[in-house]
Symmetry: C2
């Protein structure tokens, strides 16, 4: 592992100085090659799928693992989109002149070696590598055992493209040892890894917390709420709740919980519960909810704390805005929280007091996403406060350097 | 520990919403109280000093531990200076409108609970707490056993000032258990600590890497270089080297190593070595250096890698700029690196290719410091790339929150 990480480190040093045309060329060539070599990639993926079927994988697992012409096309298109984004490296974030006449600027620089530990989906290989390379970083990728052949085929294409653009192949390296020990070794490459981004479930996050000695950006759960205020437009609220819950229930920015102000609960709950039930959503709620809509099941404490990632929603009725904020801050995971209201004071208070990466007024939680927010793409969504919060785009894959120009100043 | 950290967490939630006048009042009252209660603080410090003498502390250790009227005054003045700084909370970092008509802004928010583990110097207690409170964070402070009574006295003053400003006293809490186990417990308060800043030597950093499960900002060593280029003005170079090495040798931004281009080595080394020797600096160098100045001792590999924090300097002669950059990147710790040159191309290449928190052209390394850089104050200097790099001021003690305003948008 150390030797592999060292190769990435050496490549990162070169890639940090690469100009934008070279990096963009590598990404565009990689996109072209992915299309040209799609038969190879699909054959490798077929072998992974065959093994997964033999191992008794679920349909959902097979779906995440499966590539097809459309997914290959999406990977290529993603690489081309990243190539079209501005280069974050060299951006002057801010600057000023000091009283001693020093001219100081803070300049964006690559992080260095970015490690990504991720689960089944092989398209992450290309997405993560593309963003890392564009931001001048080497990507040290550790995918799952089940996607190894697919990842090898995709990484081979990416490395060939780097070489064709006269950039170091080792700017994208795959950890082919898919043992737990190898993942732990990645987490402990203190000398070489500048940042580790884990993309996976709670057990991966727990392993990271336990073992990691390298800096980490946690891409955690999204137990997202929609709060329907006393002053909500109930048509708007119904559209937002439906969208947040059902438009794509398996993702982290889908809503998992509905919080309704008591003043509108009788007017709102029967209709939204009927609409959601019709859309196949399982509903569980607290006692006040069930008094209004008896068909709703009993919500346990665990239901309120859980990210269902499925067509299931917990519902709570609260007496006032303060109780809504307290509920959201208690059960939320710091991802995305939305309020529906026409009351400016309520909206301002909710945005100030709710502690989350994104707080949204009168729109669906589903917008928290690098592409929707306008970052172009994302390598994950941070639920921690250090370094970056919310969607991780190119900017979040950089650090800064103070550059100071003087003419002989010394300190007295 | 968990109960103490929970108290800090509760206080942090309240402090995050405090307005600037309340926070500034707390800091100014604390400054006044530190002066009014200086006898109490000095008595507590005298007890710590007595114990330290009995334990056989060195003069340097006693000096770091010792408070006196001037140091109390400096602590009070530091708190007043932080009160005078702008409030970072609520600053809109940037913002934009998306194609769906969502108005997005990124707003600065406090980190939450900031833990600081630090060694002997009791003034860190007041400095760190002041910065944390101003940035809306609760400070969970864990000082050393040797400074416990001093820290207790200072924290008592800070807590009284918070109460007088109607802010929660638990915004500053001291971990009075000074065992190693308690420090490890702080490092593992995953549910309550948003950021841990260790201020101490390599053994503390190693313990953090091994045990910490909370996000960390490493304030690491400063093995800082001054590189004297072929095109340096040698008068400027001599002034900068003298200043960087001797103005305050015990601090992290002092120079530990001099790198000289071969083209100017014969002109520069004899004079600078004589000047430094006259200032009491022990000199060690590589073979080319010792050919020119035979009085210089032999530099070992360890000498080049070491932060002396004392009047000692390692010297290397290099054949060209590329070798200078390679030497600096090999032995440097990513803190501060300086070049002295009149050659614009050399300066630009050095600033681009040297990987450090601060790269300085024609000025002393001693300027890398929150106050000198214009941040007002600092809680440490980050040598890592994640979250913050270089001096950690108020801004670096914050996170951001995406605030999104819509009018009913849903995702399609």
């Amino acid at each position: 592992m150390r030797a592999l990480a060292e190769r990435a480190r050496t490549a990162a040093t070169r890639l940090a100085l690469a100009d934008r045309p070279a990096k963009d060329r590598a990404l565009r060539v990689a996109a072209d090659l992915l299309e040209a070599r799609s038969d190879d990639v699909l054959a490798a993926n077929a072998a992974d799928l065959e093994r997964a079927v033999a191992d008794g994988a679920t349909d959902a697992q097979l779906d995440r693992l499966r590539l097809g012409p459309a997914r290959i096309e999406a990977m290529a298109s993603g690489l081309r989109q990243v190539a079209a984004l501005a280069d974050p490296v060299g951006e002057v974030v801010d600057g000023w002149r000091t009283p001693h006449g020093l001219d100081i600027s803070r300049v964006r620089v690559p992080l260095g070696v970015v490690a990504v530990i991720y689960e089944n989906r092989p398209n992450v290989t290309s997405d993560a590598a593309g963003l890392c390379v564009k931001a001048g970083n080497a990507a040290l990728l550790r995918g799952s055992a089940g996607a190894l052949r697919s990842n090898q085929a995709i990484v081979a294409v990416l490395r060939e493209a780097l070489a064709k653009a006269d950039l170091p192949e080792d700017a994208v390296v795959l950890v082919e040892d898919t043992s737990h020990e190898a993942a732990v070794a990645v987490m402990r490459c203190t000398e070489t890894v500048d940042c580790l981004i884990p993309r996976g479930g709670p057990s991966l996050i727990a392993a990271i917390r336990e073992h990691a000695t390298v800096p980490v950006i946690i891409d955690g759960d999204g137990n997202c709420h929609v709060y329907v205020d006393a002053a909500a437009d109930l048509e708007v609220a119904a559209a937002i709740v439906r969208n947040a819950k059902t438009q794509r229930p398996s993702v982290c920015n889908a809503a998992e919980s509905l919080v309704v102000h008591a003043a509108v609960a009788e007017a709102f709950l029967p209709r939204i519960c009927a609409e959601l039930a019709a859309a196949g959503v399982e509903l569980v709620g607290d006692a006040p909810t069930r008094q209004i809509v008896p068909e709703v099941g009993v919500a346990t404490e665990d239901d309120f704390a859980r990210e269902f990632l499925a067509l299931k929603l917990s519902i709570a009725v609260v007496d006032d805005l303060a109780a809504a904020i307290a509920h959201v801050n208690r059960y939320g995971t710091g991802h995305t929280e939305a309020i529906v209201t026409t009351d400016l004071a309520a909206a301002r208070r909710f945005t100030r007091e709710v502690d989350a990466a994104a707080v949204i007024v009168n729109a669906s939680t589903r917008f928290t996403d690098g592409e929707q927010f306008g970052l172009g793409a994302e390598i994950g969504i941070s639920t921690q406060k250090l370094h970056a919060r919310g969607p991780l785009g190119l900017r979040e894959l950089t650090s800064v350097k103070y550059v100071v120009w003087g003419d002989g100043q010394v300190r007295t």
